[in-house]
């Protein structure tokens, strides 16, 4: 810690905010992803069109551009709306803007991950459930979703790892994440190398733990499946 000139606790605070942004973004992304996947596989033409637009558009735009558009553009829009309606200034906090933007972006990637996983569940399963008289929602909740998790985990793990690192983008809109703290500490002490290595190690720790946890989860959801049958 002496190596970090007393900036150790500050970096750890940054880690806490990186992790909370990542965890909340993941929750948002899962909601968007599941909704997107279900919409893409639905019989409704409108739902399919909306989901296709969403995943095409978002996967095609750089994360940074989207982030800046939502954070600054959204704020100016809100200010103007407020001025027209006589509201006071409403602040879009960087935390909420960051979580929503990252969640929204990675929801588009998860849409495809989840869609693939749902397709991997044999169609006969859903048909059998329907034959037993379950409603569509019940089929989804009881039969399809529990079985698709196993297929979704590898792609999901990929997305999560990329997302943890993508949270570094929020430092640009003023959120006090790990990278932001490291930047400031590097400027103050003029030892950029020290702080960027420290941050790299922290990211590595987070991703290593994630990989272990996701491996356990994958084994857990594959209990009913023998390894040899692909």
């Amino acid at each position: 810690m002496a190596l970090l000139h007393g900036y150790g606790p500050a970096l750890l605070q940054g880690l806490a905010s990186t992790l909370s942004v990542a965890a909340l973004s993941l929750a948002v992304a899962c909601v968007f992803g599941l909704a997107g996947a279900v919409a893409k596989l639905s019989a409704s033409r409108t739902a399919r069109a909306v989901a296709a637009t969403y995943s095409t558009l978002i996967r095609g735009l750089p994360d940074l551009v989207l982030m800046l558009l939502i954070f600054y553009g959204g704020q100016i829009l809100l200010n103007d709306l407020g001025a027209a309606r006589g509201w006071d200034y409403i602040d879009v906090p960087p935390f909420a803007a960051g979580v929503l933007t990252i969640g929204f972006i990675f929801g588009a990637y998860l849409t495809e991950t989840f869609r693939g996983a749902i397709l991997a569940v044999p169609r006969g399963q859903a048909e059998a459930a329907q034959a037993f008289g379950m409603t569509r929602a019940q089929v989804l909740r009881r039969i399809v979703l529990p079985q698709m998790v196993r297929h979704a985990i590898p792609g999901f793990a990929n997305n999560w790892l990329v997302m943890v690192k993508a949270t570094a983008l929020v430092s640009l809109i003023g959120l006090d994440d790990m990278v932001h703290r490291a930047n400031l500490a590097a400027a103050a002490t003029r030892e950029p190398f020290t702080f960027y290595v420290a941050v790299a190690l922290l990211y590595l720790a987070v991703t290593t733990v994630s990989i272990a946890a996701l491996g356990w989860l994958e084994r857990r959801f594959s209990l009913g499946v023998r390894r040899v049958e692909f």
Partner: protein, 263 residues
């Protein structure tokens, strides 16, 4: 025009303004009791963040002194340099005290107070590597400079035969120089002195050529949203007050051993 289309028009305008950063008249606003001040934290000795997360530096001290002289409560908002202007326009804060040089280009996007300091620029390179800093001596060499600054513009105009390496932070200018990615650096004399030449890393490096005052830049000022003339007036009055009562000199003496006021 009925109110509804007026609103739609505003929304469209807002969208366009975000993308194009064009000028737009400021909205009428009553005198705020709390002023939010945008500051940086990457520019020692003007602003930096300590281990405890506290901001300090000349910009910070000036911001607080101005608020006290204006007799308003202030809240400092730390913001990365790249998002400074957009955040001002989006009302994330009401004024910027972040060593922002007043330029014609920036005057299109914001209004500025009188300058609160003015620091000349100078070249820095390995001692003895350059005989002088003329465009001929630097021909074909790579100059490191902070992007989006009057200094970068000055180099583009005066040193067409040199290659520019533009970086994102003033302190990075000297990191790049020490890393050997450029031949010579051009930056604020204060930063090159405090943040580089006086540190172990800066050993063997020296200033090259005379100090340069850029004609495009007219000192460093406080930026506010376009059209907020009343606030500019209050800031200028506060600046006069702290210069007259000795506060300014007391603060400047903490950081600099020369006159930084530019008077």
């Amino acid at each position: 025009m009925n109110p509804r289309t007026a609103l739609t028009r505003r929304l469209l305008l807002a969208g366009a303004a975000t993308l194009l950063a064009t000028g737009r008249p400021a909205l009428a606003q009553s005198k705020p009791s709390l002023l939010r001040v945008g500051v940086e934290g990457n520019y020692p000795p003007f602003s930096k963040m300590g281990p405890d997360g506290k901001l300090s530096g000349f910009d910070i001290d000036i911001a607080l002194a101005l608020c006290e002289a204006m007799n308003v409560r202030c809240q400092l908002v730390q913001q990365e340099w790249d998002g400074m202007m957009p955040a001002l326009r989006a009302r994330k804060f009401d004024m910027i005290v972040a060593s922002m040089t007043i330029t014609d280009e920036r005057r299109k996007a914001a209004d500025f107070s009188d300058p609160y300091y003015d620091v000349p620029s100078r070249f820095v390179a390995r001692a003895g590597a350059f005989r002088d800093a003329s465009p001929e001596a630097l021909k074909g060499r790579r100059i490191i400079v902070l992007r989006n600054t009057p200094r970068a513009q000055y180099l583009q105009q005066r040193y067409p035969g040199s290659e520019l390496l533009q970086v994102n932070k003033e302190t990075d200018v000297y990191l790049e120089l020490a890393a050997g990615r450029g031949d010579i650096a051009f930056g604020s004399t204060v930063v090159s002195g405090e943040a580089f030449l006086k540190t172990p890393q800066g050993k063997g490096y020296a200033q090259v050529g005379p100090t340069v005052r850029l004609e495009g830049g007219t000192g460093v000022g406080v930026a506010v949203r376009k059209g907020e003339t009343e606030l500019v007036g209050r800031i200028n009055a506060a600046l006069k007050k702290i210069k007259a009562d000795g506060t300014y000199k007391r603060l400047a003496d903490r950081y600099f051993d020369f006159d930084i006021s530019g008077n």
